[in-house]
Structures are given as C-alpha cells and as structure tokens.
Symmetry: D2
Subunit: 385 residues, 4 copies
C-alpha cells in the first residue's frame, strides 16, 4: 500500500488526484520489467512530458547533480540549452548505454524526424547489481520501445517495476515511487509531480519517525554487519573500503551498500524555464534528506526537472528568431520549491512501501520494508497520520 | 537550553565534547553583539580556523551556494584556489561590505603581512531587518576586530549573540547555533563541527516532530497570515508579491519572512581538500531540509567548509613548487557527510532553542520558540529523546 | 588613439557608431579618477544599464568566472535570480568593499527605495597595487557617487581613467577600453558592447601580430627579468613563486606580474535572458585569448553581461505572478557570441592603445605601449588593416 | 604536413619531441577508421593515460564544458570524484552510446575486474553527419576494442583517421590533430599534450593570419552563403533557423555547419589533481579562440584533462583510508595554462593541415584546406614562421 493509504501524510501541501507524477497533465509513464530466471531483476522506466513529438515540441528542462557518482546521460546539453528533446528513461548502471541508444533510436524513427542527425537522450540509472546480474546487460532497444510505448497517464505502477525491479534502498527493497503536490489556488494552483528510482542508503526516517533506528537497520548499524565484520557486496568501486573494513575486523562492517543512488524526475505544469527548473530540481535533492539519505560518496543522486506548460515550450517548427513566453516571476516559485521537497519525500517512501521482497542472483533475497512493524513504530511516534 | 540538555538527540552519531564547532581542534569563535536603543539588533560573529596567521598558513576550503539570494563575499576565490586566507565573519546584509573591509583590514595589519596587497575576506550575512534598523549599517571595522579578537576555543555562545542578535527563523527568534559530530575510531575518529546563523523560513521540524504544524506557525499557515487573510512569504525585496498579497504599504503586516537566509560554517579536522570539502558543504545544505527548510526563493543559503588538518594546509612561507599532502580517499568520506547533515540539523535547532524573545525597531517583538509547548509536542511524538 | 583610428580592424563584424559599450542604447558610463600626489593612482568606473531606477526596473544579467582569483561581489545572487539591481562599479582590489558600500548606499537612497532592506551591488576589481598605494584604500562612497552621477551615454573615456587609472596589462600600461559590434539586419541587427578594465598578463597579440614577442616584452620573456634575475613586485600572494624564481636565479625571472586580472562588462540590446547571457559572458572570456591572455593562476578574470531590451526586464512594480517576455531562440544567438569575442578583443586593445605612460608610488613608472614601434610591427605582419 | 613541418610556430613554448599528446609519458593513442562504400566516413579514437589497468590505477581527471550542445558521457562522475577509470574514446554523435558500451565492455573484461559492477566510460563525439551516414550508427563494440588495442605511444596519426574521418572544421576538412608543449626546466620541465577532434565553425586564423577571411570561407561569409544568398550556420538540429534562412527541405544547400563541435583531450605529466586539471581544461577552451572559433550555439565544445604523474594516481588496490600525494602549488600552474592554450591551438591547426579532401554520402565532397594558398597567405602576414 502507498503511504497515504496507510494514513501517513508527509508535509503540509495536498496531493494531486492520483498523488503521482501523472497529475501533471500530459505526463505519461511506462515500465518494462525484466525478471528472468533467477538472475535478471531489472528493467526500464520511461517518462514522457507529453504525447507529441518530444523532439520537435521541446519542454524546458534542467538537471541537478546531487552527488555525481553515476552515469546519467544527456545532462550537459539540457543544461546548456535549457530544454529536453526525448523521453526520459531510467535503467541499470551497465545497461544505460543500450538504453540511451534505444531512446535515440525511438526519436530518430518518429515521423517528422527523418532528417534528424543529433539526439540527446536523457537517461538515468542506479546500480541493481546485488539482485540483478548487471554484467549481463540484458536491456536492449526493444525494451526501451516497450517502456515508451506502454507509457500512459493515470495511476503509476510502483515498487518492483521497470527500473526499480532490482533496486534496494535504506536497507530494504527499493524501487519506483511517485507522488505529487498541488499549490493553493492563490499560489497559482500548479502541480508538482515526482517519480523516483530509489537505490540509496542512509538511516530511514518515515514522516519524521526514526524507523531505521528502531529496526536496527541503517547505515553504520550493527544489523548491517556480517558475522565476519566484513561488508559484503559493496560495489566493485569500493574495493579499498572493503579492504579497510576488513582490516578493522571487529564491529563496523555493514552488509548493504550505502553507496547506491537515486534518480529523481520532477514534472510541473507551472510555467517556469530552465533557471527556475534547476532550482526546483535542487529542492528534490533536499527531499532525500527528509527520509534519512545523506548522499554518500558512492551515490549517484541526479534530478531532472521539466515543465509541461504550453507557454514555455520550444516548438522547432515555429518560425521566427524570437519566442514569446509567459513565465512565473522568481517571487512566485517558493511554493513550488516546497512542493518538490514534499513530493520527493513521499515518492521515496512510496517506492519502499510498494516494493515487495525480491530474490535474485546468487541466492540472494532483499527483504521489503516490514510494513506491520513499521506501522507500529509510526504509531509510537505519532507519525501514522 | 540546548537541545541535548533537554534530552533531544537528533541523528545517530555522537557529538564532540562541547557539541560545538570548537570541538574541531584549533577553531575559535568570537561574537560582537550590537544592541543599541530600541532599533539596533545586530552584530558580528567571527570564526577562525586556527590561531596563527590565517593568510600565511592557509586552510583548504570550499563553498556551496544552496540558494544564492544573498551577498556572501569571497566565494569565487575560495572556489578557484581551494583555500581560505582570512577569518570568516558573519553579519547583516547591508553591513557586509563594512565587515569585509574590516576583515581585510585585520589581515593587512597582521605581523608578516606588511606587503600584502590582496586579501579575500570570506563574509556571510543574513537579513535581520525586521528587528534591526538594517539601513543604519552600524557595523564598522572596530566591531569586526572585537569579534575576531574575542574569538576563543571552548564553549560557544548561542542564540541572540553576534550575527544572530536580530535574526528570525522558522517563525521564531533565530540566532547563532552550533553542534558537532565525532566519527567512530575505525572511521578515522574525525570531528565535524557546524555553526549557523539562522534566519530562514519553512515548517519547523524538531527531531522529526512537526512542531511548526502543531504550533500553527509555519510557511503558508494561517498564523502566518495577514489581517487580509493571505499568507505571507514576503521580504522587503519582494515588492511584487507584496502587492499581490494585498499588503502594499503595510510592511509591518506580515508575520515572518520566509525569505530569510542561513549561513552555515562547517569545520573538520579530517584531512580533506577542496573537492571533498565542497561535497561536505553540500551535505550541510541537506541539513536544512531536516528541520523543515526548503530554500525559498528569497533565501541566501550559503555554506563554507574548511579543514584544519595540518597535513593539508598551504603555508605561504614554505619553499618549493610542490606540496606533499595526505588526504582521505573518496571512499572514506561518507561518514563525514552524515556528520555534516546531523550537525547542521542540530546547530539550527540550538540556534532556535537558545534564542530568547527579542524586541526591536518599530515596536516589534519576535517571540522565541515556546520551549514548554515544544517539549510537550516532542513528547507526544516521541521526539524528546 | 583607438585601434580603429590607427586603421586596425580586428574581427569581421562592423562596430556600432561609437565603437563603445554605449552603442547599446541606454547604457551609460562614468569615471571617477583618483590621482593624488605620487602614490594614489586609482579610481572608480560605473556602468549603468539604463537611466531609470535600476533596483526597481531590473535587467536580466549573468556572470562568468574565467579565473576566480579576485574579489568581485554580487555574483551569486545574479546567478541565482538572473537579474541585476544596481549599477556595476569597477575599482581596485582593496577598495572593493568601500565601493560596494557606496553602490548600496546609492541604491538605498534612490527615490522609491526608501523601504529597501537588501541590495546586491555588482562590483569588480583588479589590482593596481604596483603603481597605486592600494593599501591606502582611498576610494570612498563619494567617489562611487561621482562615478555614477557622471555616467552618460556617448563616447567613453579610455586608458588611464576611472578604475583603469593605475592598471597594467600584458607588459604595458593598461586601463579602461571599450568596443562594440553590430549584427547584420538579417541576424536581428542587435548590438553587443564591451567595456574592460585590463590588468592581466600574457603575450600581447594585436590583430594577430605577435607584438609582445617582437618587443621582447611578455610572459616568460627575458625583458621581463630584473638584473638580479628576480621577479619584482609580484603580488604578496605570490610569495612562494617569488622565492622559487629567486632560487632559479639565472634567466627566467620576470619583472611584471602576470597575475593581474581583467574585468569585462558585456551589454547587449538583444532580448536574451540569464542563460544565454551567461553563454555570452563566456565568449568574452574567449576574447582574452585573442590578445594573448591565458588566465594565469593569479588572474581574476570576471565577466558580467546584461541585456537592456525592454521586453526582458523585470519591473518590480508590475503586478501579477507571471511575466511575459519575448526572447531570442537559442538558434539565433551565435552571431552575438562572435560579437562578444570580437568586441572584447578590441576593447582590450583600446585599453592598451589609449593608456599613457604613468608614474606612481615608489618612483615607479609603467610605460605605455610604444605605439610607433607597434605600428611598425603591425605593418610587418599585415595587421595594420 | 604538420604546421611545424611547414615552418609555422604558434606560441612561445617549445614542443615535446613528437609534438603530440604522446609526449606525455605513458599516453597511448589508437584509431579505428571506418570508410565503407560511399556513405560511411567515421571511426573511433582511443586515448589511454597509461598502459595498466585504468580502472584499478586511476588517474586524476577533470572536465570542462565550453559549450554543452553535445552528448559527451561520463562527465558528472569525473567531476564528482576527480578521477577517470577508463580509456577515453571519441566517435560520432549517434554512435556514442555504442562506443560507451564498448568501452565499458573493455573495462569489465580486463583481468582483475571480474567483479566490477560499475564503470564510467568517458566518451566524446562530434557530428560527422554531413559526410557520414550518421543515422546508420555503424560503430560497434569491436571497433572500440580495435581502437583501444591498437593504441600505442609514439607518433599519432592525424587528419582523416579514427573519430576525425568524417569531420569538418572552419569551412574545411577537419579531423584529428595533436600537439604538445614543454615547460622550461625551472618551471618543472613538465609536458602538456593535446589531442583534438575538430568539427567546429568560425573564422579560421592560422598563427594570427586571417586565413578564413582571405579565402572568403568563414562564418557569415558570402562563400558560406546559399544560392538564395543567405549565410548559413545551420545544423540538422536547427530546423527553425533553417526555415528562417529559406532552406527548408534543402539541407544540401549549406556550405558548412558552424554548429559543429570540438572534443579536446589534455594530458600532462605535471602532478596536479582535479581542481587544477579543471583549470587546465578551461585553458584548452581558450585555445579554440586562437584559431577563430567562438563556441557557436550548436557546438559541443568539451575538454577532458588528466595527469599521468604517478604521485597523484589512485590505486584501488592500495590499502588505507588516506592517500599521500605530492602536487604542484597553485602558484606554479600558470606555465601549464599557457602550454594548454598553445598546444590546443596547434593541435587544431594540425587537424586541418593533415586532413585531406574527403568525399562522402550523397555525393558530397569536403575540400581540405588549400595548403599552397594558405602558405601564400601566411607569408603575406609573416605568419609562416
């Protein structure tokens, strides 16, 4: 169940009708979930700002790199030009190049793009290599097409789907999560929607309650220590730390990889352009802190934000050297910032609450968040409201 | 009382002995508090990385701009060169240039600096213009000297002192606050200390408990609504939004200014240099989110971080074209990152808990956090531990 | 004489009527030159985007830091908000805080700003401390007022005036220089104007001709070596390098400080906002390379760019949460970029050609560029056209 | 012939023995050139910092984005961690994802990397789609292996090879070029080597001489004008401007695409780490300006810089939480900066002088620089020395 279905209400702003990124009109989400034999646990999630030709009718966009230990693609061009020209795709670390090739392929083959010779796919990833045989790199162009072509507005599947199929977060099974916020009418009535692929570490906090601590399952906790006192399955990048912790030998190893990542997609129908979208993206980074994340060294914490408002789009087929746009004044963006923080917090929580225990390669199993236990903790802390 | 004296323990890491930025060996803090008649409520706070000639024995440093609506000085040079060459001073917005002049004066007049022709003061500010007659710009060079010369190691005065004399935060009286964290020995045993000048808005969260909501005093709340029934997130600079909210000509009409700011100073004795110090500074920004801040449009949220470790200093009087330094590996910095988030959270809380109700110009009074009420709320939420 | 008066035509685009930043309609420039006794050689130069209340009628703006060894003020807020709210002032390194205080004072005292409690002065500096007794810090608020109040459209004084009074560049007397470029009508007919305060080192190239090499006066050249083989008058910051060069002892010392700086102001009447203004500012940095600069370690190379087009201004006194703006498409900005490179190149050349030999403190004399010799060199290289 | 073989000597610093990036000890370069039938004109160029396992023995690295209209991969992680863990590959725009997949594949399959689950390939591209059937995306993993495995120290093939096979620059045939500079012994004697893939527009300047203007072939020139008499700075992506210029549907109508790109790789054996490498990378951007480039809107101008010095490497297999490094002081880096500007200038010139006329898809032919004519122009301007 989603956190609101359990009575949990993080933040002060109301959600949109679906409490999903698809509350932002026009936004569509699709998943391609890959579960094969006992070793493939991965997939692709696609987010489309609108249903038209995204290359020709571009949305203003921005990116923010919270912690750049990641391979996310397409960021420098979005930053330079302030716009996005493809669907966003999320997948696993080692499949990101195949996925980007697929996104480019999709755009190149759209009607009207026959002469296009340059495409800038925006693709993100987190490392699902504990459950998933990531070195197999099974994602291919067809998977990207399936994710994109299955994209739809309406409710969004969460948990172990698409790019979240094999991820882990904050000591539990992670995955895809989404949420939204709506501003009061006198603040413009705009919607901010967020979708996350959660795969990072920290000390889980749920609506203010110290759930990770109560469960004894968090960064630096004893539960995250193996019998030998050695961390297990750290990313290969962490060879040195593995060695270090082995040397210390006694107490503080940990059995999950704090050095995961989180991809965050922020959509809004507020008429803002790249500079304020970048600021909005940065606020999503703050949302990570609200659930107990701290952007550890090995985490790839990336945010992509875009606006769907028709008045700020760049239609390639318009004529003229100038564009007339109507955008929000700086002084009117603060409520959007708050909305981004809150929706990110709740989207991450949804990714955990909606994920289920998943087994994977090498006989491993990642337990889901123990909802009953968690609800007891939330009750104890008055956080079940 | 400080939050720990009240039994509140945010985070999982232990504090240093003083739970203050001065737990980082060598760091010294001094305040010059200016309370004059009924309209001057401001001051200067100085932070010194060590007791030597800071210009000649430079500490590695970095800056991070969370939200750049502020006048903080000295940032581009710190970013370019990766080091700091003066004490840090904090003061109010319109006095920052006088304060910077004072810091430069202090450095120019240090023995050994007789031929120095270039100084890069690092100075931050927040806007205390609700209580303080900020346009009077009373801070002068002498005040800076007094703050610097009174700087000492040991316990740090908090609340309505120095640069925090006239500030407000999260709907209550803000001020200076500090806290620290110590890593486990097998993580290096390093200390991270934080000092803040709090003056920003949001929805106050204390150790996870929704204190701002319970008190009905937060951004967008009815208590922060004008007689005309509209919420107010207005700074004096926000003329347009003022007009929007129907407040034209009635700048006394608003309850608090969400568009304040927060200056955060992070010190560590871990041997890290500019790149990892910048990452550390960014984690302090995450700490703002933990107390309910969201970096509103008009907020100047700036972080300055430095390391005091002797192995990473740049001594101008050394000979040779190269420097040998010993620094932490990337893989060993994650615990420092967590420490920065936690110490920032607690430093902000201390700034609120230690501040007292203050009256100021135009007959205004800013109430302090109502500690008794707050403790009841914390008890209700199990956050008083 | 200005370079064009000597028949030199850098670049391919035509200049505006005045070949000055004031070709951008509305832009005004004023100088306050301070030459006192034998030791004060400094001043203030003010650039105003328009003649109205700059705080209330804000121009979009951006900054670019080429090399951040400098104290330029006001940059983070311009970057965050994408706009500028004061005149720009240029002065010397150690007087920058006084100058910023003066700019703030001017803005606070403008009619209509009686309740303003926050001002973000944009002030730049270079170090004129070889000729000027910089530690005297003689610039005061009155000097800033004089520069601002004397600002006018029309021709701009160049060379040893205002903030360029005591500067040196590329081995010769530097100063203030300006130039402009006009786009073809089918590219919009826009104007780009540049003003520089030149004080940096390198190997002087004039319209492609290797003037610095021919004159034997450039970075690393023997002419820039003292009899003792020791560099002289390096900034105090360069203590270590001084020592180093002293150690080498024999050949490669140099007698001028490559580690100067250059402040560049770029104005345009093209309707572009902060993102494209930042890109435009970056192209001015490229202009430095065309005259032989390379942004040495100690150089503070800063660019400020703004647009004067009425359609992109932010008028604080407008009502409404949104602003309608008309801006150039990304695809139409390339000619502006070229214009910024060319105008910067020529503005720097003008600063050198218009400066005259200046004596200063401690019996020092900085020779101006030897124009006759230079013209012979240019003729030799076909660069006198 | 290379420019020095023709007697042209840009800059003041001496070159290394090979005047190539491979003058930096250990650096190896390999090309895979793909010329198939009449439509495939592309390839892969690989640059290896050393001959060991690059993933396990990492070199400090930095990136700089001059203009971000490009798809270069791997940048955010290099920026965050300050190091590089793969060979660098260069290819064409639409094949970059295949190339990155190939680089990752290569690293995953190196002995010792059997458990690696995360790789950050650094791959750049420019758009060779005028001569090359770029939409065919012919580059595959095998091509990347061939480029990497053929990499060697020693002289570097230039012009129409590898990733430069189908590129065009400044109105002529572009390609791969390289150059190096050596510092005087008393400046450390370090080497800076540069390799470029040139594909950008501007007004060609050769050693200061206005070659593009003399040949009447440059940005905005009449020779670069369509039959309809309008200048063309159009990329395929620039549909709108195409329409503006009256070229709709006639993409063969333009003479050259100013909106190309340039990838620049900078290697040095000086012991510097990420912060100073980023500064070094920025100076390579200045080198573009010296040949007449101005980073037009559609250009992807990216720089990657790394140091090969053993004292600054990060060996994953070392134990310990700390690393001891010896690095150059800030004050000693200026000569490296100059070297980067000069070597970039000459590398670009070599790419043009070494390229030969190439025919490609759709019956197109890109003429090479007319060397005889150019030499006459250089002689006229005294630039043939």
């Amino acid at each position: 169940q989603r956190v609101r279905d359990l009575g949990i209400h993080p933040g002060i702003l109301p959600t949109g009708p679906l409490n999903a990124i698809t509350d932002v009109e026009g936004v569509m989400v699709g998943h391609q979930t890959l579960i094969e034999e006992d070793n493939i646990r991965t997939g692709v999630t696609a987010i489309l700002p609108h249903s038209g030709n995204l290359y020709r009718e571009r949305v203003p966009a921005a990116v923010y790199v919270g912690n750049g230990f990641g391979k996310a693609l397409g960021f420098t061009q979005v930053q330079e030009l302030g716009e996005m020209e493809t669907p966003i795709a999320l997948t696993n670390t080692l499949s990101i190049f195949n996925a980007a090739h697929g996104v480019a392929d999709y755009v190149l083959n759209l009607p009207g793009n026959e002469n296009v010779g340059s495409v800038n796919p925006v693709v993100g990833e987190t490392n699902d290599g504990w459950l998933n045989d990531i070195r197999a790199r099974v994602v291919d162009t067809e998977d990207v097409y399936k994710a994109i072509e299955s994209a739809e507005s309406g409710p969004v599947a969460e948990g172990n789907v698409g790019a979240g199929t094999g991820t882990r977060a904050l000591g539990f099974k992670g995955g895809i999560g989404t949420s939204s916020r709506q501003l009061p009418e006198n603040r413009g009535g705009y919607t901010v929607g967020v979708l996350v692929q959660s795969n990072f570490g920290g000390i889980l906090t749920v609506n203010g309650a110290p759930v990770g601590e109560e469960l004894g399952n968090h960064y630096l906790s004893s539960r995250q220590t193996t019998p030998s006192g050695q961390p297990t399955d750290l990313g290969a990048q962490n060879t040195r730390l593995t060695a270090l912790s082995g040397l210390t030998g006694d107490t503080d190893g940990y059995d999950f990889d704090v050095d995961g990542s989180v991809m965050i997609v922020v959509a809004t129908d507020a008429p803002i352009t790249s500079r304020n979208l970048e600021r909005l993206a940065k606020r999503a980074f703050m949302g990570i802190a609200r659930v107990g994340g701290f952007a550890s060294n090995g985490s790839g914490d990336y945010v992509i934000a875009f606006s769907t408002h028709p008045d700020v789009r760049n239609n390639l087929d318009d004529s003229g050297q100038t564009r007339q746009i109507t955008e929000l004044d700086n002084n009117a963006v603060s409520p959007l910032f708050l909305a981004a923080v809150e929706a990110t917090e709740e989207a991450i929580l949804n990714s955990l609450f909606m994920a289920e225990t998943m087994d994977g390669q090498n006989g491993r199993t990642q337990e889901a968040l123990p909802i009953d236990e968690v609800m007891e903790i939330l009750e104890k802390y008055g956080a079940d409201q």
